[in-house]
């Protein structure tokens, strides 16, 4: 039986009728038309479905919507602020850190979560923090460079 969930997504509350066992990914995509999170594997192995929950990168394909509660969900659609790209989004563009782009939303949100935890991450911290995200086009080194660049621009912004 569908339950009612008040989901806090990208700064606003969305009331959704859905069985508690349904994945957050399917609710985002099918009920709320937030299709920036993608299905890639359905078992939390590729990271294409990654969203932030209370700032934590989370695999929405294996997260039941009933477990979300009042946690603040941020999807790729919620990252841009007043027409300005998030520093990580901008860094991905600048570094050409994508090819087909299907993994990109999940990569960017995982990177945002990583930078929250490690504002100036080492190479090893980036690799271990991002290793659950697959880019089959193989742009990994570009993504590492983009994360370093985003870190620098966030640091610069913080000093202002």
């Amino acid at each position: 039986m569908p339950d009612r969930h008040n989901l806090h997504i990208n700064g606003s509350v969305h009331a959704v009728e859905a069985g508690a066992e349904r994945s957050l990914l399917s609710v985002l995509r099918d009920d709320l038309d937030l299709t920036g999170a993608h299905y890639g594997c359905g078992e939390g192995q590729c990271g294409a479905c990654t969203v932030l929950m209370d700032g934590q990168p989370t695999r929405s394909c294996i997260t039941p919507v009933g477990a979300v509660g009042a946690k603040a969900v941020v999807t790729i659609e919620g990252l841009e602020h007043e027409g300005k790209l998030h520093p990580v989004q901008q860094a991905f563009l600048d570094a050409d850190a994508l090819q087909c782009g299907y993994c990109t939303s999940g990569m960017i949100l995982s990177a945002v979560g990583l930078l929250k935890k490690h504002p100036t991450p080492t190479e090893a911290e980036i690799v271990s923090g991002m290793n659950g995200n697959v880019c089959r086009c193989g742009t990994y080194r570009r993504i590492v460079n983009a994360i370093h660049a985003a870190s620098r621009s966030q640091q610069k912004e913080a000093r202002r």
Partner: protein
């Protein structure tokens, strides 16, 4: 399920491609517009005629290639047209090409080609790709053909358009055309400081021109847009989640479908109990022989309905991967089979057998399609590298004329040669016809791993002889099953023979990035290292001694110099390897460093240096990215990717069981692009993949002394 080995067509196929949803305004809209509002291709010729429409006529040879010998051809009016380009009264430049975008950035490079010749900024060119109603026929986006064939066609179109615009201005101003220049989207007359924009020039005109084949192109040395790093077209849409992949397409009233898959390959349906499903509200079960699907309002309801179907299958006994190479070539066993040295007057001779496993493309966006029937016309949105091929397959499946089928390819979540076929489009269309409503079908990862096709496995045997001074004198090479691409050794060997042998293959096979060139280079470049060892000559020096092909020598020497090949020092647990190769008129060399942990056996590639040359570079940024991506993909097939199967089932159809390269697998990569402005631009999506596997193999040999003859080389590490 097809058991056939690679066809000739498949052998010419590989990887590329992008497309726009229906119209420029629809790019960011998930709810794509009504198909009935769109012109058919013939109508387009009439309706976009206001302004300037140029049809790019193909030279005879390319028309053959685009048409595909013996295949069903599209309507004759368009079969010799490779692309068209339109300049509207408001100055908008729209280019229509049947190529698709799958991440290789064809959308960017093709726009660069037109912008260069038309003298407009690259951002002023809108590309409409991969839409069978809007774009001219194209055989498909594969074989690294977009750059060498479509770019010259579009350059000719752009150049011809520019010349016509100059003619128009000259007529209007009554001046010599030689006094006029084109630039910034305008024609200018310097003497009188007059200008007319392209829009002003074509306003009120209704010009349709076919481009003469001999139109002059801008010399490479004068390029301003081509040859320059240009950012990804629509890049912002990809980092903001706005881009609409096939999986994101939504149509009014759309339902979701799921297909009941057989228990194994070649299984037939024994019985189906759909009682429990028929009771579910809003769910329809579709059965037509062994084809069984469910349709439901939402994906989760469709998934639940599918799980509630009770089916029994008749299965047949099928072989396993444990006996794969025995099946492909009886008696095969990977390893050295003979070695004769020193005392042999013929020289040093080594015979060895190499094996290559099945691997899967694993595009991150699985196969998907949205099908919609309206007034006996079928429209399918699907991520394919062959929109016109899929249209033909849909027309055949539903006994429709091709003019009643439209295939639209949204820019797709990659392909790597894996998205050539029409299954998902046909399945979605069957369900949509039964439902009387649009239906979306997205394959699960497990379906993608099971019901797509694989890069062919292979057995390769090599017998070679070298003199003590390192001169190769004899080369015999046989490839069983994996394919003939890149089979010819580029080394100057007086006696050389290389043959491909078709065999009965246990799994369904098809195109893959680089095709068999990866397998053939693996066996050849591994064997070359072993020959060098036998005659005690450095592997770089051994190659150079036998290599006369200048372009290949150049990349090999470039990569080795940057790597510091001659300065490398032995370190415990470290190894260095190199390999080189050529295919599809481009050239690659790779040097790698590996470490092997003596305790755990863990293998790590710690450094890659690659040099690549594909003629005059169109977009250095995207070329660099493409080469990097090829190396990373090649690293997976080199070290650990392998499809396991038994009794008609794939045993590892999940990303948790089929290992693809991840961040931790990828070392710093240094790429040197050799820009040959004096040579035509060639494709680059495939060839950079061919040398990485043997380079790693040779580095592992250097590190451990172990001769490896199988791909993947070390799926579980390497115990020393």
């Amino acid at each position: 399920m097809s058991r056939r080995p690679l066809t000739e067509e498949q052998e010419t196929q590989a990887e590329e491609g992008r497309s726009v949803p229906l119209s420029p305004t629809a790019v960011n809209s998930r709810l794509v517009p009504e198909t009935t509002a769109l012109p058919s291709r013939r109508d387009l010729l009439k309706t976009v005629g206001a302004g300037l429409l140029l049809l790019v006529a193909l030279p005879e040879a390319e028309a053959q290639e685009s048409g595909g010998g013996g295949r069903r051809r599209p309507d004759s009016a368009s079969q010799s047209i490779g692309a068209w380009i339109h300049i509207a009264a408001d100055g908008a430049v729209t280019v229509y090409s049947g190529k698709v975008e799958v991440g290789q950035n064809a959308r960017t490079s093709l726009a660069q080609a037109v912008a260069e010749e038309l003298r407009v900024p690259v951002g002023a060119v809108q590309m409409v790709l991969g839409d069978t109603d809007l774009t001219p026929y194209d055989m498909g986006t594969f074989g690294s053909r977009t750059t060498p064939t479509m770019i010259p066609q579009l350059r000719k179109a752009g150049a011809a358009a520019r010349e016509i615009l100059i003619d128009l201005a000259a007529a209007q101003w009554q001046v010599e055309r030689s006094a006029l220049t084109a630039g910034g989207g305008k024609i200018s007359h310097a003497a009188t400081k007059r200008t007319l924009t392209y829009g002003e020039l074509v306003k009120g005109q209704k010009l349709t021109q076919t481009i003469p084949a001999d139109v002059a192109l801008t010399p490479t040395a004068q390029w301003r847009v081509m040859g320059v790093s240009t950012p990804k077209a629509d890049g912002r849409d990809f980092v903001t989640g706005k881009h609409t992949y096939t999986t994101d397409v939504k149509r009014p009233g759309m339902l979701t479908g799921k297909i009941l898959r057989p228990a194994a390959f070649h299984a037939t349906l024994k019985s189906l109990d759909a009682q429990a499903v028929k009771a579910l509200p809003g769910v329809t079960v579709v059965q037509d022989g062994d084809f069984v699907g469910v349709i439901a309002p939402t994906a989760h309801e469709a998934t639940r309905a599918l799980a509630a179907l009770k089916a029994e299958w008749n299965t047949v006994s099928q072989p396993s991967d444990q006996t794969l190479y025995e099946q492909l070539r009886p008696g095969s066993k990977a390893g050295k089979t003979a070695e004769r040295t020193e005392a042999d007057p013929a020289g040093h001779t080594i015979e060895a057998t190499y094996t290559v496993a099945y691997i899967a493309h694993t595009p991150l966006e699985p196969r998907a399609a949205v099908a919609e029937w309206k007034d006996e016309k079928l429209t399918v949105w699907t991520g394919t590298q062959r929109p016109f091929g899929v249209r033909g397959d849909l027309a055949a499946a539903f006994k429709l004329p091709e003019s009643s089928v439209r295939v639209i390819v949204p820019d797709t979540g990659s392909g790597y040669g894996g998205k050539h076929t029409a299954e998902v489009a046909i399945e979605a269309a069957r369900l949509a016809r039964a439902a009387g409503k649009p239906v979306k079908l997205v394959w699960t990862r497990e379906e993608e791993f099971t019901w797509a096709y694989f890069r062919p496995a292979g057995v390769l045997t090599v017998k070679a002889t070298a003199q003590t001074d390192g001169t190769l004198t004899h080369w015999e090479f046989d490839n069983y099953n994996s394919g003939p691409s890149g089979i010819r050794a580029p080394y100057a060997v007086p006696q050389q023979r290389a043959d491909f042998h078709r065999t009965q293959a246990p799994l369904r096979e098809g195109s893959y990035r680089g095709l068999a060139a990866t397998a053939n280079h693996f066996a050849r470049e591994s064997h070359i290292d072993d020959m060098a060892r036998a005659v005690k000559i450095d592997p770089l020096a051994f190659r150079l001694k036998n290599l006369q092909e200048l372009r290949l020598r150049a990349v090999l020497e470039t990569a080795a110099a940057r790597f510091g090949w001659d300065k490398r020092r032995p370190l415990p647990g470290h190894g260095y390897g190199l390999a080189c190769g050529t295919e599809k008129n481009s050239y690659v060399a790779c040097c790698v460093e590996v470490t092997v942990d003596r305790v755990s056996g863990k293998v790590q590639v710690t450094r890659i240096v690659a040099a690549f040359e594909c003629g005059a570079i169109v977009n250095p940024l995207h070329l660099q990215n493409q080469v990097e991506g090829s190396l990373v993909m090649g690293l997976g097939g080199a070290l650990f990717e392998a499809i396991r199967f038994d009794q008609g089932k794939i045993l590892n159809p999940h990303l948790s069981a089929y290992r693809v390269p991840r961040f931790a697998d990828v070392p710093p990569i240094e790429i040197i692009l050799v820009d040959r402005k004096d040579l035509p631009s060639e494709g680059a999506g495939e060839t950079p993949i061919v040398a990485i596997a043997p380079a790693i193999r040779n580095a592992l040999l250097d590190a451990t002394g172990q001769f490896l003859y199988t791909l993947p080389l070390a799926p579980n590490g390497l115990k020393t």
